[in-house]
């Protein structure tokens, strides 16, 4: 009896694994298929490095690639240290009760729809950046990066916090027994032993920053040009897809968004694989 049940469960789990794996591949195949006319028309090189000027028959997505990378890297660079600090405070340094309530607030933050962040950005952040950035609309790379860093921090904080809590208790006892201060315990013992969780949290946050559409659409300014500084208006791949999707289905303009999708997809995979490779290479974990 038991073994039959076990076999059924095992098969069901295997099937769902295959399906979810296959769906990811199918999506990629679909995007490739849809982008095919454009790829046939111009060459791939031109699409990846050209400028966006549909009137002039140029469907290059380089500006969007650059701005996606700029915004997501910048937002992770801003929110990573903040998140490490927050989870350190919540889990180790701060008073226990305060830590618990802060954690609850962060949990609530993860559930806020991104459109709210965009909205808040328009009214609070854009005017400030407009002042500091010396003119312009205030909608720029840095505006979107700052707002996105607020958006992705909760994910990182909770993830880091969980991995801090999984550091084995004997390590903590040993460290306490030797007279380490709370900060020393965090820096020398907890963070090094939570490295794996920290890296995975980083990957998730990066993916979320890269994949987010609304914040960039609302406050990055949307001009399809390679940003020259962090105060320049710009357009991400995701915002580009959202803007162009209203175009005629048969047009090459419309087909170009599938190229954007493919690039996004490849970036996301490259980041995950790359970070895992570099982070776990030397210790032979996984």
């Amino acid at each position: 009896m038991n073994s039959i049940k076990e076999t059924i469960v095992e098969r069901a789990l295997l099937l769902s694994t295959i399906v979810s794996g296959a769906v990811t591949l199918i999506i990629f195949g679909f995007m490739f298929f849809m982008a095919l006319p454009l790829l046939r028309e111009g060459n791939i090189f031109q699409i990846l490095t050209g400028e966006w000027s549909p009137g002039g028959g140029s469907y290059g997505i380089l500006p969007m690639i650059v701005s996606t990378l700029a915004i997501s890297c910048l937002s992770v660079a801003i929110s990573f240290p903040v998140s490490i600090g927050c989870s350190g405070f919540i889990g180790v340094l701060g008073p226990r009760r305060l830590g618990r309530s802060l954690r609850r607030i962060v949990q609530v933050m993860t559930g806020i729809p991104t459109v709210i962040y965009g909205f808040v950005g328009i009214f609070l952040l854009v005017p400030i950046v407009r002042e500091l950035g010396g003119g312009g609309s205030g909608m720029s790379v840095i505006t979107a990066a700052l707002m996105l860093s607020v958006l992705i921090s909760p994910t990182m904080i909770l993830f880091f916090n969980d991995s801090f809590e999984r550091v084995p208790a004997p390590y903590l006892d040993a460290t306490d027994g030797l007279g380490a201060s709370a900060v020393q315990k965090l820096v020398y013992v907890i963070i090094p032993n939570a490295k794996k969780g920290i890296i995975i949290g980083l990957i998730l946050a990066f993916g979320r920053a890269m994949g987010d559409t609304l914040v960039a659409l609302m406050i990055a300014g949307n001009s399809a040009q390679v940003p020259g500084s962090i105060f320049d208006s710009t357009r991400t791949l995701t915002a580009h897809i959202a803007l162009v999707i209203a175009a005629d289905y048969e047009s090459l303009e419309f087909k170009s968004i599938f190229a954007c999708g493919m690039v996004l997809y490849l970036f996301a995979s490259a980041i995950v694989i790359g970070i895992r490779y570099f982070a776990f290479r030397e210790r032979g974990v996984e």
Binding site: P170, A174, T175, L178, G179
Partner: protein, 236 residues
């Protein structure tokens, strides 16, 4: 039972009461511990032997819903000092009062870095001095000859007995005046336990030792004095 240092009190506990989640575990304990002696703390499980040790190094302060009242004084630099005084930090206390736990708890790093870790915590940068102190501590813990050729290897690869001696070496490197041992041999085999007992007898020349133990024959071999925790409550 008596030692030559009779009368030289190292630790004085006055009216110590400890409760956890509202349940009273230690109740009004008064006790003195002599310098350079091994005191064995015995009693059935769950009477608060380990808890008692935690009131001497303040490790209980990490436990939520734990409460303590009373006074614990330890003699440092000639005078008895209240270890719960505001100006006396727990980090400073724990550098003077070393703790060895029931299960060996080396950190996931090399043997050398484990023993040198307390020096890192106190900000020591002189590499020559660190190497010298690590060797000294490992020698004192009877471990040097076994590990001198593989100091860079992970401490987690050592046997249980070696790990426990490594933990003792790690405590000794700060030259503590008191060493608290919480059933230090209970997870080890007989032979490894013997080495540690021998080590304890050797260490008491310089250090005041309090050891929780389950084994009466072990207590007989190492202890200058025996304190039975379950009788504390009655005696009050």
């Amino acid at each position: 039972m008596n030692t030559t240092q009779t009368g030289n009190i190292k630790i004085r506990v006055t009216n110590l009461t400890f409760s956890y989640k509202g349940r009273r575990i230690l109740d009004g304990i008064n006790e003195n511990f002599e310098e350079f002696a091994v005191t064995a703390i015995i009693g059935p499980s769950g009477v608060g032997k380990s808890t008692f040790l935690m009131t001497l190094n303040r490790l209980w302060e990490n436990i939520p819903e734990a409460q303590m009242s009373g006074k614990v004084e330890i003699r440092f630099n000639g005078g008895l000092r209240d270890i719960y005084e505001r100006s006396f930090s727990s980090s400073r206390l724990r550098k003077l009062v070393g703790t060895v736990f029931q299960k060996p708890n080396p950190l996931p790093m090399s043997i050398f870095r484990n023993v040198a870790f307390p020096l890192k915590l106190s900000g020591e940068k002189d590499k020559g001095l660190i190497a010298q102190k690590v060797e000294g501590a490992l020698r004192k813990a009877y471990l040097w000859d076994e590990v001198k050729d593989r100091l860079a290897q992970s401490a987690l690869a050592l046997s249980g007995g070696q790990q426990q001696r490594l933990c003792i070496a790690r405590s000794l490197i700060l030259e503590p005046e008191v060493l608290l041992l919480d059933e230090p041999t209970s997870s080890l085999d007989e032979k490894a336990a013997e080495v540690i007992e021998d080590l304890i007898l050797h260490l008491k020349e310089r250090i005041t030792i309090l050891a929780v133990s389950h084994y009466l024959d072990q207590v007989k071999r190492i202890a200058d004095r025996v304190v039975q925790v379950d009788l504390w409550q009655v005696r009050k």
